[in-house]
Symmetry: C2
Subunit: 337 residues, 2 copies
C-alpha cells in the first residue's frame, strides 16, 4: 500500500469536491493500492490541520454549516503559505480561484509548495498561464511533480492522456472548444435564433454564466487554457498575453443564421498552429466532430502517429474537476518509489 | 536510461509499423529516458534473432524485397513459440492476425510469453476476446504485464486513458462506433443514397474493406472489441459469443433515407449497458458526438465522476496502431523498477 498525505488549499466548490471524492472513493483507491489521508485544509481566514488525518464527513458538515472554525484542528491565524511550508504532507492540492492578471494567491502557494519539496496538483489556470516555464523548472529543481490536468476542461482527460496513452506522439496542432459557458450561449443562439444578450441571460439564470461574464465571453478563460496547452503539449514558450483573443459579444443572430444556412455553426475556438495561438469565433461544419452542443467541450489534437484524436467531455463541474485532480494525485503516488 | 529488449511476433503491416516507429522515434524515446532494442522478429517461416539488436533500416529493406531470409540473423527452422521461449528479451509484441474462433496462433504466443515471464503487448483481438480472464490471471501469476491498447481502435487511446487519466472513475456504460470499414459504408449510404452493395464495392476499391468482408460487415470485429472493453474496463466476465450481434448487410437505402429525414443516421453501435452487450445498427441523432463520418471510430464512456467522455479517432492504420503499441511498451518500461 502506497500512502500519501494531502493538503487542500482553497476550500470552495472544487476543494469540497476533492474532499468528497477522497471520501467516496476510499475503498476503490485502496484496491488500487493507494491510501490518501487529508492532513490540512486552508481557507482565507484560517486552516484546519490534523496530521493524523481529518475526517471528511465531519469536515463537510462543518463547511456546509459555515462553521469550519469549530473544527478541533482549526488554527485561526495560520496563513495558507505557512501551512504549505510547515505542515508535514506530500501533495498540495491548490484549488483557489484563477486570476490571470497576477496569478495570486495561487502563484505564491504553488511556488512555496514546490520550494518546500511538496508535489503540487492544481486546477488554477492563472499561475500556469503566466509562469509556466518558471514553475515547471522549479518543480524539476526540487525533484517534485507539478500536475494540472484540472486546469483545462476538468472532465476531459488531456495532459495525462497525451503523457501516457499518446506517449511518443508529437502534437502538431491543437484546436478546440475550451469553454462551456460560451458554447452554451452559441449553441442556444444557433438552435433558437435568439440574441447574445438573451442567451447570456438564460445562461445566468441556469447558473452556467456568472453575473460578471467577461472571463468567459471575452475568451479570457479559453486563452488561459490555450496557453497551458501550448506550453505543456507543444513545448511553446507562450505567455497568456501572446494569445490573440476575440470574444463572442459581437456575434449577431444574422451571422449565426447565415452560417447555419451554409452548413456551419459559429463556435469559440482556441487554436495553436505553427507559431500562432488564438481564441476567436470560427465557422465549424455542422457534421464536424468539434461541433458539439450545450456546455460540452471538445479538443482535437493533430499528432504525427495517431493522426487526429478528439476528446469530448464536460469542461467543468465540481465532481468532474475533482476527478481530474484525483487522477493527478494517483499519477504522483503511483510513480513514487 | 531504462533499457528494454523487444521482440516482434508477426511481421505483417502492423509489425512493420512497429519497427518503423521504433526507428523513427529513437531519439524522442531516449529523451523520455527509454532505450528500446529489437532483438527478434518472427514470421511464419522463420525468425531473425540478434540479441545485440537488429538494425531496423536493413530489416525493412529486406522485408520490402521479400528477402528476410537473407538477414544474417535468419533462423529458418525456428518457430515463433520457440523464439518466444528462448530469446532473451523483456517484451513480446504479438501482432499476428486476429482469429476469433480459435484465437490462434496469438493465443499460444501470448500464453507462452507470459509463462516465460515476458511482458506482452498485443494488437491481436482473438486471444483476449476468447480468454480474457485466463490471460490476465496468467500475467498476474507470472508477475508480468499484458497490455492491449491496440486491440480496440488503434489510433484512439482507450485503456491507457481510463487507467491513467480517468483513474478512480467507475465506467458505467460504453457505447461506440468500433469499426471503420462499416462506418465508411454507412456514411457513404447516408451521404449519397447508394445501396450497401455499391458502398461496399467502393470500400473494397479504396482498400478500406477486405475482399471477404464478413469480419467487418457482420459485426464480428466490433463484437470482439466490445468483449475486450467489457472485460477490461467494466470487469465483466464476458466472452465473445455472449455478445448479441447484428451486422449491416440488411440495411437498405430506404431505411437510411427515412432515418435521415427524421434527423438520424444509422450507425453500427457496440454497446455495454447493465448486463447486456451487443453490436447492432442503431439510430444516432445527427448532432450527437458519436455521429462521426468516414472511417472514424468514436467511443462514449459514461463514468461516475467525469460523466460522459467521448474519444474520436482513427480506428486502424499501420502507424496509428503502432502508436498504440509503443504507448503500451513505454508504460511497461516506465513502471519497471
Amino acid at each position: 500500500m502506497k500512502e500519501a498525505r494531502v493538503m487542500i488549499v482553497g476550500f470552495g466548490v472544487v476543494g469540497e469536491g476533492v474532499a468528497e471524492v477522497l471520501d467516496s472513493k476510499k475503498k476503490q483507491l485502496e484496491k488500487l493500492g493507494v491510501k490518501l489521508s487529508l492532513v490540512a485544509v486552508c481557507e482565507k481566514d484560517g486552516c484546519i490541520v490534523d496530521e493524523k488525518g481529518i475526517g471528511v464527513s465531519e469536515l463537510l458538515k462543518l463547511k456546509k454549516a459555515g462553521e469550519l472554525q469549530k473544527h478541533s484542528g482549526w488554527k485561526k491565524k495560520m496563513r495558507s503559505v505557512d501551512a504549505i511550508r510547515e505542515v508535514d504532507c506530500d501533495i498540495v492540492v491548490e484549488v483557489t480561484p484563477t486570476n490571470v492578471e497576477s496569478g495570486e494567491p495561487g502563484l505564491t502557494h504553488i511556488a512555496t509548495a514546490l520550494d518546500s519539496k511538496k508535489h503540487v496538483v492544481t486546477s488554477n489556470k492563472g499561475p500556469l498561464a503566466l509562469k509556466f516555464s518558471e514553475l515547471v523548472e522549479k518543480a524539476e529543481k526540487n525533484n517534485v511533480e507539478l500536475k494540472y490536468e484540472a486546469t483545462v476542461c476538468g472532465g476531459m482527460p488531456v495532459f495525462n492522456m497525451v503523457e501516457n496513452a499518446l506517449a511518443s506522439n508529437e502534437i502538431k496542432s491543437i484546436k478546440g472548444i475550451l469553454n462551456g459557458t460560451t458554447n452554451f450561449i452559441l449553441s442556444r443562439m444557433h438552435e433558437t435564433g435568439v440574441t447574445f444578450e438573451v442567451a447570456l441571460k438564460e445562461a445566468k439564470e441556469m447558473g452556467i454564466a456568472e453575473e460578471k461574464p467577461d472571463y468567459d465571453v471575452k475568451g479570457i478563460d479559453a486563452a488561459a487554457k490555450i496557453t497551458i496547452l501550448a506550453n505543456a503539449l507543444m513545448g511553446r514558450k507562450l505567455a497568456y498575453k501572446d494569445v490573440k483573443r476575440v470574444g463572442i459579444e459581437e456575434i449577431i443572430p444574422e451571422g449565426i443564421a447565415l452560417a447555419k444556412k451554409s452548413g456551419f455553426a459559429i463556435k469559440l475556438i482556441g487554436e495553436i498552429t505553427g507559431d500562432k495561438a488564438s481564441v476567436s469565433p470560427q465557422l465549424i461544419p455542422l457534421g464536424h466532430p468539434l461541433n458539439v452542443g450545450g456546455t460540452l467541450n471538445a479538443l482535437m489534437l493533430e499528432t504525427d502517429l495517431a493522426k487526429e484524436v478528439i476528446v469530448i467531455g464536460r469542461g467543468a463541474g465540481k465532481i468532474e474537476t475533482a476527478s481530474a485532480i484525483i487522477s493527478d494525485v494517483l499519477e504522483i503516488v503511483k510513480s513514487r518509489k
